[in-house]
Assembly symmetry: C2
Homo-oligomer: 245 residues x 2
């Protein structure tokens, strides 16, 4: 493992795992890197917390690293802290398939020890405009891609459960916090908004009333019409009102 975390000034046994939500083509997506080792290992973007770093800052750092985006909507949603929560099973399989790791570190070195301890993990979820993200691999990743949340690969440890819990929380907070627009580009049609909500909640809404509900929130401003080339009336474009107004 490069940049040995055991030698960085990190808080031990405490980690951050991020569920980065994006939206494209009527699908809710999650950004998931695949690890750069033999064997098919997927893991949520995550990391550790420096001694002199707020946990929110650490989460931001991790997200910025993978997405390139600076200002990002971020919410700490749950802590995962079962006693049995460790990556021993994963690490053993990893080493089995990548024996070169052992020799690098002089068999079962500090790093193995560091990684296989129990970790308490802080779950954050982020909402980003998928089109603005240029997914960036770290040197531990062989690839990083957007996966439909319904077709996620099997990830290490409890990362699939973390996504499930993140989606639950997102649904619970969506109306309260008006955060859905973070998943859309700067301008969008009312239909875009409706499809996004339908995707997140996985159920249909009545068009007429949905539009009224969203407009009554009074957070959108209407722009010009959008000439799509489709055989129908051109829809208006909307944009979030600037907070100053």
């Amino acid at each position: 493992m490069l940049r040995n975390p055991s030698e960085q000034n990190y808080i031990e046994q405490l980690s951050i795992d991020c569920v980065i939500f994006g939206y494209h083509n009527k699908q809710l997506k999650v950004l998931v890197p695949k690890l750069n080792f033999n064997g098919d290992f997927w893991a949520l973007p995550g990391g550790f917390i420096s001694q002199d770093e707020d946990i929110d800052i650490a989460a931001n750092r991790i997200l910025q690293q993978r997405t390139g985006i600076k200002e990002i909507y971020l919410d700490q949603f749950h802590i995962f802290g079962k006693a049995a929560r460790n990556s021993l099973k994963f690490m053993n399989k990893l080493i089995e398939l990548n024996p070169q790791l052992l020799s690098e570190n002089g068999q079962h070195g500090k790093e193995f020890n560091w990684f296989t301890k129990r970790f308490v993990s802080i779950g954050y979820y982020a909402l980003v405009d998928l089109n603005q993200v240029v997914p960036e691999k770290t040197d531990l990743d062989s690839s990083i891609d957007w996966y439909n949340i319904k077709e996620l690969p099997e990830m290490i440890i409890d990362h699939n459960e973390i996504v499930t819990k993140a989606l639950e929380t997102l649904r619970f907070h969506l109306d309260e916090k008006l955060i859905a627009f973070n998943l859309l580009p700067e301008t969008f049609t009312m239909k875009d908004v409706q499809e996004l909500y339908e995707t997140i909640y996985d159920k249909p809404f009545a068009r007429n009333n949905f539009q009224k509900k969203i407009l009554d929130l009074n957070v959108l401003e209407r722009l010009e019409k959008k000439f799509t080339g489709a055989a129908n009336k051109a829809p208006y474009l909307y944009r979030r009102k600037s907070l100053g107004a």
Copy 2:
């Protein structure tokens, strides 16, 4: 400090702080111990997590210790993780007022080191029937008492903020989760319920409609009337339906 935590098998730099809510006399109360040292130090009931202990179990243990109650409503509500979150200020003041602590541990010993590191703290809130609780001191406490949430003493570190955040979360989850009844005795009148809600939200509700709303939840069963000796019609007693029904 007794039972030196640095020598227990705890996760380092990770703690639990509990906001234990009770209700009495139209007041929302929080159970707060006062520390058994020179100087007036109050701190939320808290503790650390053993290596082989789920965080939820640890929170339960801490709560059971102070309240004597086994089955307790408990919710992990937020993590407090600022980089500057440590008890250095508190510890220095503590030692200034209690110089005997230094000699005990051979000046600035392991324990001082352990306690003054940055801690990330997991906030839990608990809802209990105040009448069932027999507040129990640990050997670190000189007293432990119920304080009106509006008249809390100034506590160490960020514990007052933790209470504020806990109350926010409680309000947010109250209707969703039907958890308010955890604060009441087994049987209660409709007026009790209304006063409880009014206390938590710090605002009045209309009696007729409130009663309808609560009964429409369909989670209460009506018992016999309660002869209070008051100069009026006797109110019915209610009780939470058993979950089997």
